[in-house]
């Protein structure tokens, strides 16, 4: 940890305290900026429709009610079915978990190759793969639809997994490559001298060292895949739609009556897995990044 505790001979105690106070004030102001929308979302989800219609949108609820939450989970209408978000949750899980695992594994292998097994053109290949991070998904929608149809996996969960893995390769390779580049190449040389081959070195040396960066990659990929709407709506059909499609159906009905409290509750429920991942694994996230994932 970079220890920059102020040297007391340089700054007066008064100056130190003032700076400290300014620091905390700034931190609090920023915290308010980040928390404000969440505050609005949570308070709205706890109000009744009547109160939303008549009251101010930023006020605390006069009467707290969890009805909106119950409706969002189990009985909100997402079409003819009025079963809330619950049926779609499993689809998202079936989709996200394999996709995250696969893309992470591929990223690890690719990063390993590009970082430690420099062959001619490796850096060029890496740059070309990186460019895949920038392609807007609307561009790939139609050709991908045609290709998925030809492959026979259109509208299925495996089809969605396929799409997400393909477009996750750029980022996962980036993260792992930046991480593995910091591991000294002497390690590989020594292992080779010992008679270990390519896969052995990966399995026994690199993988165990990679826990932090695996966590980072998993967090990023999980967020992107769980929250994706465009691919989810285009490449699924009845029965395979992920939770974002259901959320969109609850929130964005065009000419119906808008139940803002249910909308907010639904949004928070849909985000709970990602929120959980961030909160719980936040520690590992920083540790993972610290362990050299982004250094040169």
């Amino acid at each position: 940890m970079a220890d920059l505790s102020f040297d007391q001979t340089q700054q007066s105690k008064f100056g130190k305290t003032t700076l400290r106070i300014i620091l905390y004030v700034l931190l609090t102001l920023f915290a308010l900026y980040y928390l404000l929308p969440l505050f609005v979302m949570v308070t709205t989800s706890l109000k009744s429709l009547e109160e939303i219609r008549t009251g101010s949108l930023i006020a605390l609820p006069r009467e707290i009610t969890f009805d909106a939450w119950k409706i969002a989970w189990a009985s909100a209408c997402t079409g003819i079915q009025c079963e809330g978000l619950r049926p779609y949750f499993w689809n998202s899980v079936l989709l996200a978990v394999p996709a995250v695992l696969l893309s992470t594994l591929l990223g690890a292998l690719n990063g390993y190759v590009v970082a430690q097994w420099r062959f001619r053109g490796a850096n060029l290949i890496f740059s070309l793969m990186l460019f895949g991070c920038f392609i807007p998904f609307q561009v790939v929608l139609l050709p991908m639809a045609r290709l998925l149809g030809l492959m026979g996996i259109a509208g299925t969960i495996p089809g969605l997994i396929f799409v997400h893995v393909i477009y996750g390769i750029g980022f996962t390779t980036l993260f792992f490559r930046n991480y593995y580049v910091t591991i000294p190449s002497e390690l590989v040389k020594a292992a080779k001298v010992d008679g270990a081959n390519f896969l052995r070195i990966f399995w026994s040396i690199f993988l165990p060292l990679s826990i932090p960066i695996i966590v980072v990659t998993v967090i990023w990929q999980f967020t992107q895949i769980w929250n994706d709407f465009l691919f989810g709506v285009s490449f699924s059909q009845a029965g395979t739609q992920p939770v974002t499609v259901a959320l969109n159906n609850i929130v964005n009905s065009t000419t119906g009556v808008k139940e803002y409290n249910v909308d907010m509750a639904a949004a928070i429920i849909a985000a709970l897995p990602t929120l959980l991942v961030y909160v719980v694994a936040g520690k590992y996230f920083i540790r993972g990044l610290t362990a050299g994932s982004v250094k040169g």
Partner: protein, 414 residues
């Protein structure tokens, strides 16, 4: 040999038995996802099931169908089109030109659709002479809604000309009431625009401008007058109108903050959900001008493989234009049946006005498709017009500049 023959015969028997059991099926892509809308569609699903059909729901909400259209394209390109899709207006013919729609003329003829549907509406459901879609309802777009007590307190009557509207609005502004509740979204700007245009251009002018896209009409003095009136309307909305959802604007009228709203008849659903009574708490009237701007929701049938699915389409089409569904769906939705021979006893007063106006305007040739809601023009052209309308409304563009841009945008959209 004998065994094989028996096996072969039995497997054929089993397969045919199974397919006989399967029955008509339909996967339906639509965007009616809110509670009220879902209830209305559930009526159709139940009827479908009562007739032995299996309904697979594929709802995609949002943007008046944008996300649904993205999903539809992906499905069509991957060779897996849904059986029935909620499509309306020229989009139906556009998809027909891609060669992906099915022919349901057999059902239409057997059920005598030509006799019970108004001519212009029937026209939308046909693709080069054969029937390809089934109409669900008729929404009227050019309504003006008002808070009865606010009007009474200020001695104002429902306006029958735009000048009367302006006078009433000035009076209301002086009294501190917002004359026009409006939500600043492109489609809402377009809705107000076409209501104004109908009043100023008249039925023929409207047709020339927004169906034929006649350049002379688009750049005429009458069109400049339409934009002038829009500029006036801009002065009658409150400063926070930008981005507001349409139902929040309706709420403003309900609680007396604003007096008028120009919106299609789905606004009625909002009033009634809050327990307001038409004629007492709120008033409904067509916007100043002669004519009826309609927005017809319909289901287009896509070409699919499999007898079950074609059977499903035919059954669906039959039920959609059936008396029962037409009555029940529209009671829930706030629109009126597309079918002209449905008894309207259970419908409210505004619906009666709508139905009467529809027959009258059909006879006089002023039953016109709404451009703002995708009935008059293809997406590229209507989008181009809306771009100019919303840009004009949200800036200080002059009316003469606006008509020039209008003509250019239309020409550029082909």
């Amino acid at each position: 040999m004998k065994f094989t023959a028996i096996a072969a015969i039995s497997s054929i028997a089993i397969t045919s038995a199974t397919s006989a059991i399967a029955g008509p099926e339909a996967e339906v892509l639509h965007w009616w996802t809110s509670g009220g809308e879902a209830k209305s569609v559930a009526v159709l699903q139940k009827e479908f099931a009562d007739n032995g059909g299996t309904w697979t729901d594929m709802p995609v909400a949002g943007g008046g169908g944008d996300a649904a259209m993205a999903a539809l394209r992906a499905r069509v390109l991957s060779g897996n089109a849904p059986t029935a899709v909620q499509l309306k207006g020229p989009a139906i013919q556009e998809w027909y030109e891609e060669g992906v729609l099915a022919d349901i003329s057999s059902v239409a003829e057997a059920q005598g659709w030509s006799a019970v549907l108004p001519a212009s509406i029937a026209g939308h459901m046909k693709c080069e002479g054969s029937w390809c879609a089934a109409p669900v309802n008729v929404h009227r777009v050019d309504w003006i809604w008002a808070n009865a007590s606010v009007l009474e307190a200020n001695g104002i009557n429902m306006p029958s000309t735009w000048d009367e509207f302006n006078a009433a609005a000035d009076k209301l502004q002086a009294a501190g009431i917002i004359p026009l509740a409006h939500g600043g979204q492109a489609w809402q700007d377009a809705t107000v625009f076409e209501a104004v245009a109908l009043g100023i251009l008249g039925a023929n002018g409207f047709h020339k401008a927004f169906v034929e896209l006649d350049e002379e009409t688009l750049t005429s003095d009458a069109m400049v007058a339409v934009f002038d009136q829009m500029r006036k309307m801009r002065g009658y909305v409150d400063p926070n109108f930008s981005g507001r959802d349409w139902n929040l604007a309706t709420a403003m009228v309900m609680n007396g903050e604003a007096a008028f709203q120009i919106m299609g008849d789905w606004a009625k659903g909002e009033f009634m959900a809050a327990g307001k009574v038409p004629g007492e708490d709120f008033l409904c009237l067509s916007t100043p001008g002669e004519g009826f701007l309609y927005n017809v929701d319909s289901f287009a049938m896509f070409a699919v493989d499999g007898e079950d699915k074609t059977e499903g389409q035919n059954l669906l089409a039959e039920l959609i234009v059936g008396q029962n569904f037409q009555k029940v769906f529209n009671l829930n939705k706030g629109s009126i049946p597309a079918r002209t021979d449905v008894a309207l006893d259970e419908f409210d007063s505004c619906a009666h006005i709508s139905a009467a106006d529809m027959s009258a305007s059909s006879l006089s040739g002023s039953l016109l498709p709404s451009y703002a809601h995708g009935m008059a023009l293809r997406g590229a052209q209507s989008g181009a017009i809306t771009d100019v309308v919303t840009a004009h409304f949200n800036s200080d563009m002059s009316s003469s500049e606006a008509v020039v841009q209008l003509a250019k945008a239309v020409a550029n959209s082909y």
